[in-house]
Chain length 243, copies 2
């Protein structure tokens, strides 16, 4: 994510002063596309820049924040789940969140323009400046409080992680029965496309919403060899039927 952000900022005409990484090799790699100075020690940090962006693992954020001697203007982290209060533990005055909501894969290029950014600042001025930074990268910038960000993360678990698991189960069923999973891909695409313009609740199809118990019982029986899948099928179908 650091690479994506730094490169995009640089392409938008921002000066990237330094890139820090624990290894100089990584810092150098990242600095090459951004004309930045690579550093591997926080002691070498230029502490008077306009904007600092902490793009590291959640559980390292607090420790790194304690070690920065800061005279800069704004500091922000990119995590979905760490609350804004993490900055209170140091003498930071203007801070916030700069969180791109996307599932990043190393191998796959991402067009940041289409990635939603969730912005939060500890005061109006900081929040507006973070917003201005984000709209240089993306067409979709939102103000999201730490409380909302928690709920958004929960919603994303259903919309992304659990959805991917439904694909995994479908793939498992097809491969066990010598059916090419590709057959389902146009259906998967269309299911996602449909809700771009429509409320998903009104798009629900299938045996559960029709309360077609004959088909449901038949499916539960087909799943008798996999108690996990069977339990998921039953629970989700019951929940759909009860809507």
């Amino acid at each position: 994510m650091a690479t994506h952000l730094a490169t995009s900022f640089y392409q938008q005409g921002f000066e990237i002063v330094q890139v820090f990484s624990k290894t100089l090799e990584n810092a150098t790699k990242l600095s090459q596309t951004t004309n930045a100075k690579p550093i591997n020690s926080l002691n070498l940090l230029n502490n008077e820049a306009d904007f600092y962006i902490i793009c590291i693992k959640d559980d390292a954020i607090n420790e790194v924040l304690q070690r920065i001697i800061f005279k800069g203007k704004i500091i922000a982290h990119t995590s979905g789940s760490i609350p804004i209060d993490v900055f209170k533990t140091n003498s930071y005055q203007n801070y916030g969140i700069f969180y791109p909501l996307q599932t990043f894969s190393k191998e796959k290029a991402i067009n940041l323009k289409e990635v939603p950014f969730c912005i939060e600042g500890n005061n109006n001025d900081t929040e507006n400046q973070l917003f201005e930074m984000a709209i240089h990268l993306s067409d979709h910038v939102h103000f999201v409080s730490s409380e909302q960000r928690k709920k958004l993360h929960l919603a994303a678990v259903f919309a992304c992680n659990f959805t991917n698991y439904m694909y995994t189960i479908a793939n498992d069923i097809t491969s066990k029965n010598d059916i090419n999973f590709d057959i389902l891909k146009p259906l998967i695409k269309e299911t996602a496309n449909k809700i771009m313009e429509n409320n998903p609740a009104t798009m629900q199809t299938g045996p559960a919403i029709r309360k077609d118990t004959a088909v449901i019982n038949n499916h539960l029986e087909m799943l008798s060899d996999d108690k996990d899948y069977q339990a998921i099928y039953k629970l989700v179908s019951d929940s759909i039927s009860n809507q």
Copy 2:
């Protein structure tokens, strides 16, 4: 679906002899784009055509099959769940399945070229002829037995119906917290796109696959007002963690 199929066949140069519907109004509407004769009584059915396609509700198929006096060549239905044996109850000799696997919405145009067709015939010659018909409409034609079709339908419930329900839950969580559901849409698109080229099991992300119990317990607590969603969250997360 009947409209989509008849129109596409006509555009591919096939002659559509007749279109039957219980109401002459519907039959006429459909016949207009296909230059076919509309009929509203099965007694008027030309019984010597090359190909008959039964594109009606599942529970009406058997009854209609009993009422056709048939001297034609091939007859097929378009249902995902009715087995091929339904044709045995009459004197049909060459019959099969002509099943487009897609979620059709009246309002939304569908490009049939991208819709997978599942073909089954009661003998090789019929199966090949059904295949030849289907490749005039679609680039994705597959031979699928009645047994496989049942499993494919089960897999589609997970990949399409349950996935849509995960979107519904996410939408419910965001709207209850004054968050615009649109924020999640790029993530939903990317989650579907990722598995077009990759096995979904290898693409799994989120707290459950990381066995991040702190986040999971936090999420379960946030869901304490909705026992259905909480139970689904727990069951699906447990299943992902146990993979």
